[in-house]
């Protein structure tokens, strides 16, 4: 049976649609294959990204699909970028607005709190994930709420909320399809935008057959999605409480903004009488007029669509309903104090850096062992646990592509490099360069396998850095060319940074 496409992929004039995160052409795995599982969690022991990546590489169907799917998102993003003459200006504005807000974060947080309270919402403050989880449980208990529907939130993943609340007897239903798949499979999301992108339709079919009672072996995405809609809807209608994250919050008006394609945040917030918002303190923007810059960049960068299907602004609770907003720090104020790394707080979680990263595309998000993977994960995961994530900064070619695509202009590859120095200087890695070869090397070091897996290629960034291909045992610092990288290339950058002295890494910037 052919299951490549159907009518819903085309508009009323027969043109292929560009909405949601859909691929611009069908990418379909040829045969069933067991899904590779993610990095093994050994408590506080360092996550072995390379080990998990090896297992991902050993699953050619998954590897090929994952690589092509994310590269397709990257290309769709490029198309949107080319269609917008002010693209670079918008990036500069986004970066400057975020930097301004972050350097005035205290006053904007107070302004947000006052506005939200004036709107009739209740504001809570959580120092860390545990406090966040306790606050949410408290709100639910106060309302005698036992069932919670929620939209996707990386923050609640970061806080480990689902496990905590489930242990306390709360029944949680994820309403984003990808997140629901991951919940039913008892697995973390592998990507901040497309949480189940590492799974093939056959994997999802197996999960649904096991958990939702769908027909075993039925791989039709339309059938699977419809089954999920039919089984989730009653849970939405009956839920005692709803929860959303927040892509942005506005200091001026106390507004919470969510961006989704499914409309599931709107259902979660508008159906039950209680709406709980969990949001990181870095999501603030000063005024509504600043939103325009970010809304125009977010979905274009993430999915290559001009906007998400739903851009929702929750300013005040509905009449007769309650809105509780939990502002979460969980390491963000400490990150703000790190001179080399504070600008990582500009991140709007678009996933573009992940989609463009050759290491990410070839190792899968679960190999990183935490909520945030890919280049942004390499930069922020160590701020959660420097020892546990000490290997991650080495899972990169430093090709700079992440920096080039980032809509808020975070200097990701420079921060990744800075983390390597921190790890080396604090003896988190005994022999930095050796680790480099193990980490990125394992993913990029087998060009034959790579080429065999990837039929299509954009010869620019899609191809591997030459040094990775031909000089496997050559340390990164030897300054091989990286022909693919626009902007400053690696060896120029390396020379500059090397001259800036290793001593800078010893200025005590990092708190463990």
């Amino acid at each position: 049976m052919s299951m490549t496409d159907n009518d819903s992929s085309f508009d009323q004039n027969g043109k292929r649609l560009e909405n949601a995160e859909a691929t611009s052409r069908p990418i379909h795995a040829k045969q069933r294959e067991a899904q590779p599982k993610g990095a093994i969690d050994r408590g506080n022991k360092p996550i072995d990204h390379a080990e998990a990546a090896k297992r991902f590489l050993a699953a050619p169907e998954h590897l090929k699909f994952h690589d092509e799917r994310l590269w397709d998102l990257r290309q769709k993003r490029d198309k949107q970028m080319h269609g917008l003459p002010e693209w670079e200006e918008l990036r500069s504005l986004a970066s400057a607005i975020k930097e301004h807000t972050l350097t005035h974060l205290d006053t904007y947080l107070e302004q947000f709190e006052a506005a939200a309270i004036a709107n009739g919402a209740t504001v809570h403050w959580a120092k860390d994930g545990d406090e966040h989880n306790r606050i949410v449980l408290g709100i639910l208990r106060d309302h005698n709420a036992k069932t919670l529907i929620k939209s996707k939130s990386m923050l609640t993943e970061e806080c480990g909320m689902r496990h905590f609340l489930t242990d306390q007897g709360i029944t949680i239903t994820e309403t984003d399809l990808g997140e629901r798949i991951q919940q039913l499979d008892n697995e973390a999301p592998s990507h901040v935008v497309v949480p189940s992108v590492h799974k093939l339709r056959s994997d999802i079919s197996d999960v649904f057959a096991r958990t939702l009672g769908t027909e075993p072996g039925n791989d039709d995405p339309h059938y699977l999605a419809e089954s999920q809609r039919m089984t989730t809807r009653p849970l939405i209608l009956e839920a005692d409480a709803g929860m959303t994250g927040g892509n942005f919050i506005i200091a001026e008006t106390g507004t919470v903004v969510t961006c989704t394609n499914e409309g599931n945040a709107d259902l979660s917030a508008n159906t039950p009488k209680l709406h709980i918002v969990s949001v990181g303190i870095e999501k603030l923007l000063p005024r509504v007029e600043h939103l325009g810059v970010f809304i125009r960049l977010l979905s274009r960068s993430a999915l290559g669509s001009p906007i998400t299907q739903y851009t929702s602004h929750f300013r005040a609770p509905r009449r007769g309903a309650e809105m509780h907003i939990v502002l979460v720090d969980n390491g963000r104020s400490a990150r703000l104090a790190l001179p080399e790394f504070w600008t990582s707080l500009k991140c709007i979680r678009c996933g573009a850096c992940m989609n463009t990263c050759p290491v990410y595309r070839r190792s899968g998000g679960l190999s990183y062992g935490f909520t945030y993977s890919g280049p942004i994960g390499l930069v922020i995961d160590p701020t959660f646990n420097k020892h546990k994530f000490s290997n991650l900064p080495f899972a990169s070619t430093l090709n700079g592509s992440c920096t080039n695509v980032c809509p808020t202009k975070i200097n990701l590859h420079e921060q990744i490099y800075a983390w390597r120095k921190v790890m080396a200087d604090t003896h988190e890695v005994p022999f930095a360069k050796k680790t480099v070869m193990q980490a990125a090397g394992v993913v990029l070091g087998n060009p034959k396998l790579y080429r065999a897996a990837i039929a299509t290629a954009d010869k620019a960034l899609f191809s591997l850095p030459r040094f990775a291909l031909y000089s496997r045992m050559n340390a990164w610092g030897k300054g091989r060319e990286n022909p693919a990288t626009p902007g400053q290339n690696f060896h120029v950058w390396w020379a500059k940074n090397r001259a800036a002295k290793a001593a800078t890494a010893k200025n005590g910037a990092v708190k463990s």
């Binding site: 859909a22 947080l109 259902l267 007029e289 125009r296 669509s305 502002l327």
Partner: protein, 196 residues
């Protein structure tokens, strides 16, 4: 000390040196013409359906025909009658049996093909999500050039809930295959029709 004081205290102690806030331009030069054409192009690419305006005759004929065939239809507009009246005090979940909802957009955004709805247009907010199909009347005079202009409209400040819909509910979480009607409406149709 409360967590609030701890968090604000930590930020005050360690925040980087202040940086300035830039002005945001409107980016509308050369884009103010043919707003309906721009809107239509963007909206249909997002999976929405523009209803045809017959050269002569009743522009609402197609909608009326759909209403006649449907089960529960709730109309929030004076131009077309539904068959069920919305009780604004209704529990939001009770709208799950609605087949078609008809509303008027507060305004539209040409750049992205988005329409804006608030609690005023929706009556009960879940109407825009629990209904199987959503039909929206849009006055072409209510179109703004782009998202920057949208954020200068009063709705965003005045409404408790304000949402931009751009096409129907969609997902591609299963192998990148586009599915319309993920959790919300299965289709979104728009009729360009001046306000009565």
């Amino acid at each position: 000390m409360s967590s609030r004081d701890d968090i604000l205290g930590a930020i005050r102690r360690d925040r980087p040196a202040p940086l300035p806030l830039p002005d945001v331009p409107m980016f509308d030069e050369g884009r103010a013409d043919d707003l309906l054409g721009r809107f239509t192009a963007a909206f249909t690419m997002m999976g929405g359906k523009m209803l045809d305006l017959p050269a002569d005759g009743d522009p609402l004929a197609e909608i009326r025909a759909r209403v006649a065939k449907a089960g529960v239809v709730i109309s929030m507009v004076p131009e077309v009658a539904g068959n069920t009246v919305l009780d604004p005090e209704l529990m939001p979940s009770k709208l799950e049996n609605v087949d078609i909802a008809i509303v008027r957009a507060a305004f539209g955004v040409a750049e992205t093909g988005s329409i804006c709805l608030t609690e005023r247009e929706l009556g009960v907010n879940t109407l825009g999500y629990l209904a199987q199909h959503l039909i929206v009347l849009l006055d072409p005079a209510d179109l703004v050039v782009n998202i920057h202009h949208a954020y200068h409209r009063p709705e965003i400040h005045a409404a408790r809930y304000c949402v931009f819909h751009t096409g129907p509910s969609a997902t591609a979480d299963i192998e990148g295959v586009l599915i319309l009607g993920a959790q919300g409406v299965r289709s979104l149709s728009i009729l360009s029709l001046p306000r009565a």
